[in-house]
């Protein structure tokens, strides 16, 4: 398939979590994914967007930028917030680690992104924001 790109920007409101994953699911459909592959991508998007809302912005309403690209048979995702950033990425990625146990966060967000996507890369700067890069080859 030829390269194809999309980009959406939306408010960091929890009701947009569903919107973000459904938008990406519709886009990735162009690659004829299996149901399981769609669910994997939806879960990863949901985790990244939820992180931006809860941790990046601390539930303040700001903007989240979601970019998706299809190249060959692979879906590439970029999810960016301009929030507080992550001080210690290694720590943040540890399963069960959370800075918000008060909100009953399970600390499994990054573990799920890693489990459901092929690759994940995080760029973050304190007080500047965070971008999550993920990709997954769609076998169909």
């Amino acid at each position: 398939m030829r390269e194809n790109n999309m980009m959406i920007e939306f408010d960091s409101r929890s009701e947009n979590e569903g919107f973000a994953r459904v938008a990406v699911a519709a886009f990735v459909t162009l690659l004829n994914p299996t149901l399981e592959e769609i669910e994997d991508v939806k879960t990863a998007v949901s985790e990244a967007v939820t992180n931006s809302i809860i941790h990046g912005y601390g539930e303040r309403v700001e903007k989240i930028l979601l970019k998706a690209a299809i190249k060959e048979n692979t879906i590439y995702l970029e999810i960016t917030d301009y929030g507080c950033g992550i001080e210690n990425i290694e720590k943040a990625m540890e399963p069960m680690y959370t800075t918000r146990p008060d909100l009953e966060r399970s600390g499994m967000g990054f573990a799920f992104m890693e489990a459901f996507m092929d690759e994940i890369h995080i760029e973050s700067e304190v007080n500047k924001g965070t971008t999550i890069y993920m990709n997954k080859k769609i076998m169909g």
Binding site: K42, T43, S46, E104, S106, A111, F112
Partner: protein, 105 residues
Amino acid sequence: MNQIFQIEGETLRIMVPKDLDHHNCISIREMADSIMMQENVREILFDFQNTEFMDSSGIGVIVGRYKNMKCLGGTVAAIHVNQRIKKIFLLSGLSKMIMIYEQEA
């Protein structure tokens, strides 16, 4: 009390919505805890028959109820769990923590 929360004897059945994400977890957590305070609940049963999507926020809300019930000497279980949700349960270790019923007793 509404259709999402059903009291059956000492069991509180929570009809999990179509999507169990951070957005939907907030109200489930608050309602479940308030019902637990008012009623004599010994078991919380998460019923996934209408659920198509769940992410790690769902794990958080189930583990949270598990901790609360454990304090009260009660239990947490899940029922009507589809393959996808089962995968999430396995990956998170939740399947070792709570009972998963295949069908109604």
